[in-house]
Symmetry: C2
Subunit: 193 residues, 2 copies
């Protein structure tokens, strides 16, 4: 109930229906006609989910446009969950959409209740996987730090630890010394040099 949703569908009637349905389920629901309008929306990067129709331009029914936009939307940093919706979907398009990172794929006509459920699930899944990717980046950083630590002198490592423990003790040197397992005076000596 606290999520922001963006609906992208070229059919005005569908947009209106979806917005009416989903307005009660999300904190904020915006509906636009074409993905290229995203740039014109203030705060466009803050959506939790996008409900993306595959068929803009009534002529192009092969979903190429939709897949193109899906890919662009998913290549942004911290992309929102994207649920694709289409009337002309076949297995191949569905698989392509999922491979491009869509969280779900729905065919029209849709079931209201399941649509809401799928949107929420998509948001949850997206949050988890996004978290995974950030974790991967963090791992790379930590590993880098770990490997750089190898080049450090014993004194440097000592002083780093001393400083972080003092920090974690809020500057209380007595407590820090105790936690470090050294005499208080030793800690003083270490800080003096």
């Amino acid at each position: 109930m606290n999520e922001k949703l963006l609906i992208i569908d070229d059919n005005a009637a569908v947009r209106a229906t979806l917005k009416l349905l989903l307005n009660d389920e999300f904190k904020e629901v915006t509906a636009i006609e074409n993905p290229s309008m995203i740039a014109t929306i203030p705060n466009s990067g803050s959506y939790d989910a996008i409900l993306l129709d595959m068929n803009f331009d009534s002529g192009a029914l092969d979903c190429r446009d939709g897949l193109f936009w899906l890919e662009r939307l998913k290549s942004l940093p911290s992309p929102p969950a994207i649920v694709v919706i289409t009337a002309f979907g076949d297995v191949e398009v569905a698989v392509k959409a999922m491979k491009l990172g869509a969280e779900d794929f729905i065919t029209k006509p849709w079931d209201n209740e399941r649509l809401i459920e799928k949107l929420n699930k998509a948001i949850a899944v997206n949050r988890r996987t996004r978290h995974d990717k950030e974790a991967a980046r963090r791992a790379a950083r930590l590993e880098e730090a770990e490997s750089q630590r190898l080049g450090l002198t014993l004194d440097e490592v000592k002083m780093r630890h001393v400083r972080s423990v003092i920090d974690s003790c809020g500057g209380n040197l007595s407590a820090a010394a105790q936690q470090l397992g050294v005499n208080r005076q030793t800690l003083y000596n270490l800080l003096r040099k």
Copy 2:
């Protein structure tokens, strides 16, 4: 050309055809009738890819068995790439399979060349994402270690660093001492206690 492939299909003719086709493309190709036979294969965890048919038991055409096995195979540590193949696939099953972690979804009849291409691509993609997930796990571990380091005694931190530097020096104590910025004898003393 250096990958191990497992084919799971209940149709003996399909198994034979696939094996014939793929034998030249992979280092090792095994074909079994039922996923539950995996346990009986020596070194069953070492496959790079599995080509998984969705319909065992001719009666059950709703793919539930296939999805079940897909999920089980994908929940193993370091799972192989899995390409699902089915004659009865519809959009819903395809989306479910992709959500369960399949790398691709193919419908029979298949195109030989594209099948090989998809298998190879699946292996490559799987390797990448597996790396990401392992990185996530590593990150959790490293972060845990990082936060626990605060509780360590100065001597413990010293010894950890000493040991990892000695490790990185391949056991050469002189070099390790130099890198640690301490006298060689000091390093000996540290190791003695």
